[in-house]
């Protein structure tokens, strides 16, 4: 079991206080929003994709706990410049690794919120329907973590 104090190591708090690309993206081509009903975390992600399927720019906005917001900043910083295929291959496990400190299953949901929104944003062009890939995958990507249901 990880020492929980490590969850708030300086690297994490740095991203929380000084996030990468937090704000609106005016000429976004793709965008989506997601919530974590357990804690009320909200993340919106906006992307600008070029014709070659590369993320030219990525921005996020949101509200919530340190983990949800700091992890979003880390993810957005990581994926700018990557191709859509590279981002689709970026797994939930890799996201947890990117964050760093070990998280309990409940807090993994906070960390994976931005990852989940990013994956669905790729399938959510701003003008038009969700593409066939997303529909075939059941609308939102799956991961092996606990369900994102309401707290009891």
């Amino acid at each position: 079991m990880a020492n929980e104090q490590d969850i708030y190591e300086e690297h994490v708090l740095d991203h929380y206080e000084d996030p990468f690309h937090r704000g609106p993206l005016d000429d976004a081509t793709h965008a989506d929003e997601g919530k974590n009903p357990l804690c009320g975390d909200v993340i919106q992600i906006a992307l600008k994709l070029d014709d070659e399927g590369r993320i030219r720019e990525a921005w996020f906005e949101g509200e919530g706990c340190v983990i949800s917001q700091a992890s979003a900043s880390m993810l957005i910083e990581k994926v700018e410049g990557k191709t859509v295929d590279e981002v689709k291959d970026f797994s939930a496990e890799e996201m947890l690794e990117l964050f760093g400190p070990k998280l309990t299953p409940n807090r993994q949901k906070c960390c994976l919120l931005s990852w989940r929104v990013l994956q669905s944003a790729l399938h959510s062009p701003i003008d038009g329907e969700a593409d066939a890939d997303a529909d075939a995958a059941g609308g939102s990507p799956r991961f092996g973590g606990p369900s994102l249901s309401e707290e009891s």
């Binding site: 929980e4 708030y8 206080e17 990468f20 804690c39 340190v66 983990i67 910083e77 807090r107 707290e151």
Partner: protein
């Protein structure tokens, strides 16, 4: 018996453990669920080890013994609530199941299109959603009583709502699970009855902490959960006046609730069995009865007094911490619950940091989203006290909250810039 929480702690084996960080446990999440004394654990083990069998069915020694213990648990519960008859005590799966039973059975039989169910905005989802479901099914409306600035509801507001809406049912909590506010069950019931409404009191947060006399309250329905009174999970109590239970249709169909079954249909048995379809939670009922006896030995008045003292200490100390917003009324108007938020710090980060100090609190919306909406909060942190909590634990809690303030304060931190690449 003198009341000494330090001595009572010895009755609860779990309180000896440490948490993941290695710190000793300060369990302040009692409004979510309480811990069990050894006598409750032993009573359930004794059942399983020595006399467990299905109840009301077998003609053999174990079934007779189990049935006797199960029915004795019902009588213990009857006395705990001062109900007129043990037939007014229905064992359910918990408070949620109790309220759903009333909504599905009494509700469907007595509530129709255009009727109103009146609740408060401070209800737990378990006392909101079943009424929303009833509304979907029969076309009634759910109306909410607002809280005032101090987290209470004036009697005049209740009186006005009863007059305006003429509800079929007034369903309210005796103690808010977020604000800790105590609502006056007896006087509100009297007001509701005068206006022709039936009354359901959600006593999930009251039964653990105060003497309940259902005859004095005179409510039509009272519900509570086993696991919040030091008893097992999976069991709760629905008290209802016998005339209601007799008139209400059976809700779940199955074994135990029938008199006869033919290929054409069935006839239901009498209450309370009519509402206990299927094999009931037998060992749980026995454990619950043991828990109720334990609380009565300790003394519910002693418990209440002790919790109020802890609540007052925590409430006062929290209000002195910069950036802390304590929800709900001052301690003299509430049970042993203190919910709070901190400026620019999410409740989950508060709870996570407190856990590093061994302090277990709840963070989230506590299954009360409508209340958090009107409070303008997405989530709050909640400390809730019980008989085994101590002044020292309250002080550890406060100290940890002060640390949270320092830990998450803005310090002008800068993220490490990624190395510049030549694209």
């Amino acid at each position: 018996m003198t009341f000494d929480p330090h001595q009572l702690r010895d009755d609860f084996p779990i309180l000896r453990r440490t948490v993941a960080s290695g710190q000793p446990l300060a369990y302040l999440d009692n409004a979510a669920s309480t811990q069990r004394p050894q006598v409750v654990i032993d009573a359930m083990s004794d059942c399983y080890q020595n006399y467990y069998a299905n109840v009301h069915r077998g003609i053999h020694t174990l079934s007779e013994e189990s049935t006797a213990a199960y029915e004795a648990a019902r009588v213990t519960t009857q006395h705990f609530l001062n109900a007129r008859s043990s037939r007014e005590i229905v064992f359910t799966a918990g408070t949620t199941a109790g309220i759903n039973t009333v909504a599905r059975s009494w509700g469907h039989a007595n509530v129709g299109r255009g009727d109103v169910i009146l609740v408060t905005i401070a209800e737990h989802h378990a006392n909101i959603v079943p009424w929303h479901q009833l509304a979907e099914a029969v076309g009634c409306r759910v109306e909410f009583l607002p809280i005032n600035q101090s987290g209470t509801i004036d009697d005049s507001v209740v009186a006005q709502a009863l007059k305006t809406h003429r509800p079929k049912l007034f369903a309210f909590t005796a103690t808010s699970n977020v604000l800790g506010t105590n609502f006056p069950a007896q006087s509100w019931t009297e007001m509701a009855h005068r206006s022709g409404a039936a009354v359901l009191v959600d006593a999930a947060q009251a039964a653990p902490h105060e003497v309940i006399d259902v005859q004095q309250w005179d409510a039509d329905f009272v519900v509570f959960s086993g696991h919040k009174v030091c008893g097992p999970t999976g069991i709760g109590v629905l008290y209802a006046k016998l005339e209601h239970l007799e008139a209400m249709p059976a809700f779940l169909g199955g074994g135990g609730m029938i008199q006869t079954v033919t290929t054409e249909g069935f006839t239901a048995t009498e209450p309370p069995e009519k509402f206990e379809a299927g094999t009931p939670p037998i060992a749980e009922a026995i454990g619950l009865a043991e828990a109720l006896r334990y609380l009565q030995r300790v003394g519910l008045d002693n418990i209440r007094q002790h919790e109020n003292a802890l609540c007052q200490r925590a409430d006062q100390a929290l209000r002195q911490i910069e950036g802390v917003d304590v929800l709900g009324p001052m301690p003299d108007l509430k049970g042993g619950i203190v919910s709070f938020t901190m400026d620019r710090i999410h409740a989950h980060d508060i709870a996570q940091w407190l856990d590093t100090r061994g302090v277990a609190v709840r963070a989230g919306h506590h299954c009360a989203m409508p209340l958090h909406d009107v409070l303008g909060k997405t989530a709050s942190a909640r400390a809730s006290f019980y008989l085994y909590n101590t002044v020292e634990e309250v002080d550890r809690f406060i100290e940890a909250v002060q640390e949270v303030r320092k830990k998450f304060a803005s310090k002008g931190r800068r993220r490490r810039r990624p190395p510049v690449t030549n694209a």
